[in-house]
């Protein structure tokens, strides 16, 4: 059924259809309405066999989910920004304990200065946790991502947390038409949760036990192997989803106009407008294409090598910065294609803390590179000139 709903609702509705057993969250803008919607569904008795627990902090929320997941529950939470960072200690644990927790991060900038607006600094900051990360372009993709996230995370070959990253405000607060899934479709796609290992009061277990140097490393190797296996599991799940739902969002990356001389690489909600800009520039005769990175973890190394092998210029748009170096997506992309492509890399940090990226801004960025007005390397784009003064 197609309905105009808010981004929040598109996620909450989808979570409901996945039949979670425990939802636990702490409010933070721009995430709150996701769990508010779920709390309302819970209060109305729509969530079936589910407990909704209000936590005293994101740390508490994540901790309770670790417990619930270890007890065999299918769990959900949502957070962002400072909340995600506060959760991070627990999330590294959840990954190491191989708990298939699904969470939504409504991407928001990190303090300081305080900002409630969108960029990717929060989720990028925990890229090394062992959590799968999928970045969505619009609310339909976010809606569709939830059942797929559970299916990938709960696969016995994977068993790692899965984080769906959706841009705060740009997506969460947007009202737009969404094809809402129904219970039958999700049930046919996502089987009831059968935990790999779980504890009960009769059969207590300890998760993530102490591992001295003679055994710690093996557990971390096992996590990496699980991430690598996740790549293929994801492709199968994405494909199955396309068949079940009729909506194909692509693989680890999605490429428009692959044989172009210039390729623009981006993640998240800017991709839609970027695609339009690319199409218009092509109509003018410019050889430009678009690479949308969907899964940032596991990182699509082979896919990017293939997609960028003949490109002459690659423009990477990063929504975060690794201070002292450059944009993380760009860093990783370069390392992935090292020795496989001779393309010049133009690495730009853009749209930090909700700085708008209007159409003409994106157009100019591409034109400047295409027409040789830019040099390869890293730069911020879209900020004002300033001089730092001591007050």
């Amino acid at each position: 059924m197609r309905k105009v709903v808010r981004g929040f609702y598109s996620v909450a509705h989808s979570v409901k259809l996945c039949r979670p057993n425990v939802i636990c969250a702490y409010p933070i803008t721009p995430q709150t309405e996701i769990v508010e919607n779920l709390a309302a569904m819970y209060a109305n008795g729509e969530l079936g066999d589910c407990e909704y627990i209000t936590a005293e902090s994101e740390f508490g929320a994540a901790s309770m989910l670790v417990g619930a997941s270890a007890a065999g529950a299918r769990v959900f939470t949502a957070t962002c920004s400072q909340g995600l960072i506060l959760m991070s200690e627990v999330l590294f644990n959840a990954a190491g304990m191989r708990l298939p927790i699904v969470l939504v991060n409504t991407n928001r900038a990190l303090s300081a200065p305080l900002s409630i607006w969108n960029d990717h600094q929060d989720s990028i900051a925990i890229r090394d946790a062992g959590i799968m990360q999928l970045y969505v372009e619009n609310n339909q993709e976010a809606h569709d991502a939830i059942p797929q996230a559970y299916k990938v995370a709960e696969n016995r070959k994977v068993l790692l947390p899965f984080m769906v990253c959706m841009d705060g405000y740009k997506l969460t607060h947007a009202y737009e038409p969404i094809d809402l899934l129904d219970q039958e479709t999700v049930d046919s796609f996502l089987p009831p949760y059968e935990p790999a290992a779980y504890m009960t009061t009769k059969k207590p277990l300890a998760f993530g036990c102490y591992a001295p140097p003679h055994i710690y490393m093996e557990f971390r190797v096992a996590m990496q192997q699980a991430m690598e296996r996740a790549k293929n599991v994801m492709l199968d799940v994405f494909k199955e989803w396309a068949e079940v739902s009729g909506r194909d969002w692509g693989g680890h990356i999605a490429v428009d106009f692959p044989d172009s001389k210039i390729l623009v690489v981006a993640m998240g909600s800017v991709v839609g407008l970027l695609r339009k800009v690319v199409e218009e520039l092509r109509n003018e005769g410019l050889s430009v294409g678009l690479v949308k990175i969907r899964t940032f973890r596991p990182f699509p190394v082979e896919e990017l090598r293939e997609a960028l092998k003949d490109a002459e210029k690659v423009i990477v748009l990063d929504r975060s910065v690794s201070f002292g170096y450059e944009g993380p997506v760009s860093i990783e992309l370069k390392s992935a294609i090292y020795g496989h492509s001779s393309a010049e890399i133009y690495s730009y940090a853009v749209g930090l803390g909700g700085r708008d990226m209007p159409k003409d801004f994106l157009e100019k960025l591409i034109r400047d590179v295409a027409e040789g007005r830019e040099r390869p390397g890293f730069a911020f784009k879209g900020h004002q000139e300033f001089e730092e003064v001591i007050p």
Binding site: M97, R98, L159, A196, A197, A206, F207, G208, C209, F219
Partner: protein, 96 residues
């Protein structure tokens, strides 16, 4: 040979029971039943949870589980009744 690795470092509980630490220390605590008031201070302070106040008919006093007591002496130093003495283990006593 391949070793077995439990998913997520998951294990059965109470595995640490297998690791006896009773032979770690040079000294061991001895409770004077007469002085002990059963106040449980030692119980709360023992880092290895191996001293416990137990009831014996009318009496109650602290009892040490020597399988795990590592002889740190904390119980002795916190006991308000000075009911715990740390004795040197025989193995460390010199002849003559």
């Amino acid at each position: 040979m391949k070793i077995k690795l439990n998913l997520g470092a998951i294990s059965e509980p109470l595995q640490s029971e297998k690791f006896k630490t009773g032979d770690w220390g040079t000294h061991y605590p001895v409770v004077d039943k007469e002085k002990c008031t059963g106040c449980k201070t030692c119980e709360q302070y023992c880092p290895d949870l191996c001293i416990e106040v137990k009831k014996f008919n009318e009496e109650k006093y602290a009892v040490v589980n020597y399988d795990y007591c590592k002889g740190c002496g904390i119980c002795s130093s916190v006991c308000p009744a000075e009911a715990i003495k740390m004795e040197l283990k025989d193995a460390f006593k010199f002849e003559g």
